[in-house]
Structure formats: C-alpha cells, structure tokens
Symmetry: C2
Subunit: 354 residues, 2 copies
C-alpha cells in the first residue's frame, strides 16, 4: 500500500514528534503515508472547515495525526499555489519624525487586527512597489499624499490609505476630521470667553496635511466673531523648540491674545514653556490647547487640554477594511472620516488677562 507514493518520505514511521529529533519537518506526504490515505485528503483537512468537501471523520483523523507528528503547513508551498501570502504590509515613512508619538498606538492596533485574522504584519519605512510585489496580500499606506501617491500608482495589490486628508479617489481611504478638530478647539476657547486666539501652525503653509486644520480654525474664527493671529514656520527640526520659538515671537509682538491653539501637542508644550519663561502662567493668564492628545499632553504640567484624534481606531479600521477587501468580503468601501473629540485637562480657563 505504501509503495504507491512516489514522493519521497523523509521521516520514518517512528516519528512521533518532529521537535524531538532533527530530521526534516513532516509534510502532508508523511501524514498520508501514516494514515494510508491520499495527500489530497490531508490537504483538505488542513483547509478551513466548510471551505472544502471532506468527511468529518477524515478531518478529525488527519488533524489528530498532524498534531501528533508536529506537522506545520509550509507557508511558501501554500502561497506558491494559492497566490496568497497572508502578509500585510504597513508602509510608514519617517516612523519617528513624522508619525511620531502616534505611531506605537497605530501599530499596536494594526498588528492586533492582522494577527487576530491570521495575517503577518510587515513594516516598511521605505518601500519600492517592485520589491513587495508578490510578497504581500495588501498594503496599509500610512503616509503623506506626497509619498503615498507614487506608491499607490505602481502598486499591484489591494491597499488602503490612512492620513488626515484624502489623497486619491482610486484608493480607499480612512482619515479623521482635522477641520472639525481645529474648529472644535477654537470654539472651546471662544466659548470660554477668549476674544483673540493665536494659532501655532508651524509647518509651511502649502502642506496639504495642514489645510484642514487651517480651514477649520478660520471657520471658527469667522463664525464665532473672535480675532486671531496665525503663526507659521519651523526654524528647528524639533517641534517642541518650534513651539517655544513661535510663542516667543508671539510675545514679542503686541498682540493681545489670551489663548493659543497649537497644531500639535509638542508645539503646545513648547509654547507653554516659553510662556512660563516669560512669567505668564497657564491657564491663568494664557490658555493653551494642543492637538492629538499624545502622551506629552498627559504628563505636561498643567495637563494639556488637547484634541484627541482616533489613531488606534483608524488603524483598526484600516486593517479590518483591507482584510475585507483581500478576502473579497467587501470589494470596495466608502472613504471614512472618523470624528475627533476633546480631552479636557488643565491648560485652558476663562481669560483674566486684558
């Protein structure tokens, strides 16, 4: 009976535990041989229940033997024929600089979803579409449109784009509402009674990712009838230092602002430091509100009131959607814009300074 298998069987019949020795890993041929059945049946037993025709008895018998023998399906052989690698990529250029403090939160969410669904997450700080072709089932692009678009255009696989602004209609996108966030921050300040709000935008004006925040801020200013000063520019590579420098500029001018809205938390805490260095207390004399609600907001003193952006949720959603697309549960989906919220701490109060 055993002779009919032409494929070589490397392991003899005494194999009970692959880990025990240093022989080659058992294959479906070894299982088939041991059970006197065909490799096809073994293969069928290995595929997810319900996706293939096989008797319950066979499935159980094979699974049992496989367990005893320490069998592990060979991912490469499977991928070679199914054309699915069960790898999902995450492209995130400038892990530290750009995505900064958000990154761990995002990665954790994405990794959790991919792993739970049986995918392996491959992380790239740089990416050439050519050398991931055929290695990935799909890609999550966590990048500024400037970097994302060239990738998307040459990519031969499913992908989703995550960024607080839409990049392209061609690729499904997940983002969060930065216009609303900036509006909300500004309104919070105005509602407290602030009449002149300074905005620390930092980066260069034509940065597409900054646009929604500027728009939201300006809309609030107009609607709420308060006045504003907008500060741009980033002299230093470090956001904290930029916040410090920008706030200093602000103080040198004669603007009678009583509140500062910062484009991100680092800029905000930098500004707070400059304020204190100039004898101004936060929030008694000047209120400061940050953006992103990162760990620096939690541990600054006073605690920084900040707009919370749904980083983790975004990552989770992106991963889930990508998997749906890959598995054809969902061929396409509408772009999603997640809401932001306000985390109130101690850095804002009604204005006392005039």
């Amino acid at each position: 009976m055993l002779e009919k298998y032409e494929k070589p069987c490397y392991n003899d019949d005494t194999v009970t535990d692959y880990r025990g020795g240093n022989m080659k890993a058992p294959t479906i041929y070894d299982i088939a041989k041991k059970l006197n059945i065909s490799v096809a049946t073994v293969s069928r037993a290995m595929s997810p229940p319900g996706t293939v025709v096989i008797s319950e008895a066979s499935r159980l018998k094979v699974l049992q033997a496989a367990k005893e023998m320490g069998y592990r399906p060979n991912a490469q052989a499977r991928a070679l024929i199914t054309r699915k690698t069960r790898h999902i990529g995450l492209f995130t250029p400038g892990i530290l600089e750009r995505t900064g403090l958000h990154f761990a939160r995002m990665l954790q969410a994405v990794e959790n979803v991919t792993r739970t669904n049986g995918y392996h997450l491959v992380v790239y700080g740089e990416l050439d579409p050519a050398d991931v072709e055929g290695r990935l089932d799909g890609l999550i692009i966590l990048a500024h449109p400037n970097e994302a678009v060239p990738i998307m255009e040459n990519l031969d696989m499913s992908s989703v784009h995550v960024w607080p602004i839409f990049a392209e209609a061609k690729v499904p996108s997940i983002s969060w509402d930065d216009a609303e966030g900036a509006y909300c921050a500004c309104k919070y300040l105005a509602d407290m009674g602030h009449k002149k709000i300074a905005a620390l935008f930092g980066d260069i004006v034509d940065d597409v990712a900054l646009t929604p925040k500027i728009a939201g801020f300006r809309r609030a200013i107009d609607e709420l009838g308060v006045s504003s000063v907008e500060l741009f520019g980033d002299k230093y590579p470090d956001q904290f230092e930029n916040g410090y420098a920008l706030a200093l500029d602000l103080l040198k001018s004669s603007d009678k602002f009583t509140a500062i809205f910062a484009r991100n938390d680092l800029l905000a805490v930098g500004a707070m430091k400059a304020l204190r260095a100039n004898g101004l207390s936060v929030p008694d004399e000047v209120s400061v509100i940050g953006y992103n609600d990162t760990s620096v907001a939690t541990c600054s003193d006073p605690g920084l009131t900040s707009i919370r952006t749904p980083i983790g949720e975004t990552g989770e959603l992106a991963a889930n959607r990508l998997i749906s697309i890959i598995e054809h549960k969902e061929m396409a989906f509408d772009d999603v814009v997640l809401p932001v919220s306000l985390t109130i701490r101690e850095s804002c109060a009604s204005p006392k300074r005039v």
Copy 2:
C-alpha cells in the same frame, strides 16, 4: 527550438512590460524562451554575482531581458527551495505599555537595518513559535525574560534577545547597562552635594528587569556615603500617575531628601508635578533625574535630566548580529552590554533646602 520547453509559457512573445497588461507575471521560463536558453541559466543570472558559475555575457543578457519584461523573482518559489524566506521577525509584546516611548526608536533602527540588507521585517505583539516556524529566517526578541524564555525554548530558528538584562545563556543577547545607569544618576546627584536621595522604583520588587537599577543605585549610595529612601509600588496602570502618587507619599513622610532618582522618565515627570503641586520648585528645592531620555524628558519644564539608554543602537546592533548569524558570517557572538550616558538638562541643581 521552442518546443523543447514542456513548461507552459503564459506570456506570448509580444510581452515587453508586465505592468502594461493584466497577463500573468513573467517567469524564468518566459525569459528562457525569449532568449532561447535554459531556465537554469536564467536562474543563475538571478543569483547574487560570484555565488554561482555563469558567464558574464549570459548574466548580462538575461538581466537585460528580465528588466525589459518586468520580471520579478517569485519569493515563495525561491523560499520553498532555498528554505530562506528573507523575513525577520520582531517580537515585542505590549508595544505601547511596556516598550512605551522607546518603541518607535527601536523599530526604526531595526527596520532600517533589515530593509537595507534585503530582509522584510515582520512585527508581532504576540507570538506562538509554531506559527512562525518556516516563515522567518530569524527573530529579534524584545521582551522581558518572563515572556522571552518560553518563546526561545520552543523556537526553531536563529534569534537574539534584547533587554536590559540577560535572560539565558542559550540565546545571544544585547542589552545596556542599567546598573551603571542608576549608579551614574545617583553619583551625579551626590556629586552635586545631595545627601539624601529618594529612589522611585515603581514596579514590584522582584521584577528581574528592575534588579540592575536597584543594584546600581544601592552601590552608589554605599560608595558615596549618602543616604536614601526607596519607594516601590504601582497603584495605577499609568506610570505618570504612579510618579505623582509616589512623590506624594514621599512628601508625607518626614524624609529630608533633596533629590529624586526615578526609574523612568514618566515616573520622574509625575513626581515633578507632585512636587510643584506642593509648592516645591525643581530644581531649586528638589532635584529630579529621570531614566531613558525619552521625548517627555525633552519637553518637560524644566527639561528633565535623564540617563540616556542606547535604544536605537541596540536595535541596530541586534538586527546586524542576527543577520550575521543567519548568513553564517558569524556563528555565535558574545553578549553585548552597551553603555548608557547622562543627558543633562535643567532638573538638577545643588541642594539649597535643608
């Protein structure tokens, strides 16, 4: 001439650019057919120069055709036969909670090294050795020994362990010198004139990862002839809150400390906040030194003097060493302990309070 190839050729002769149409990707058979040579020669041309016998003329001819046809080697087919996947894993449980603020720095370094060497980095927040078997060429284990050891014992591949303490002699390890770090912090304080130093250790005493810090701290205390108070316990899940609470406990006691050494930066800034809340100024009345030199140290006010641990360097070294092992350039290497350093900011000064 062409009939001799039994393997099917899916692409006709007009193929010039795979991207142009939606036919299947070209294989070595397509190249061989076009060039009227054997697939063996094509295969040889694809392997790294010098590793295989082939005439320079053939190699160039094949490479040229491959480029024109948009050929990409199939990673799975190659892996199936070579038994090398060119994937390296990074196991890092509790990406956010545990590895916290370091994580991005470490990941960036590791990703950079792996990518530069032609490897793809797969990240795992949880890992069962069974389901990475055969998918990875090696694994970087960035985990507390409690989590690392069970993994290492069941792992069937090369691995290196990264943690500020040795876990096992069996696996090469890279770490940094926390004993020296704690000593150095304490000495810095003592040299400034502090006579009683409080240590905020936070976590439970028997945590193996804490041991070197405690040992280093105590050695400094003994050698330098200063006195100390050690505080343990973590009431809250959040380190910042723990720092705050621990400092409060300290203030309630009658200890006449003038300086605080904190086990990590978050604990330190939490303590600074508690100090200020009690009307004590840093560093005028109490000096505070942190550990790890993370982003919160940079942006706290006053800037937190902190022990810098070489996270990025560690990741880089770990990845390089692992690759050396995988490629048999280095069969084994000595465990490495990287030095730490002191980053001086504004949170420490000579004691004025008595």
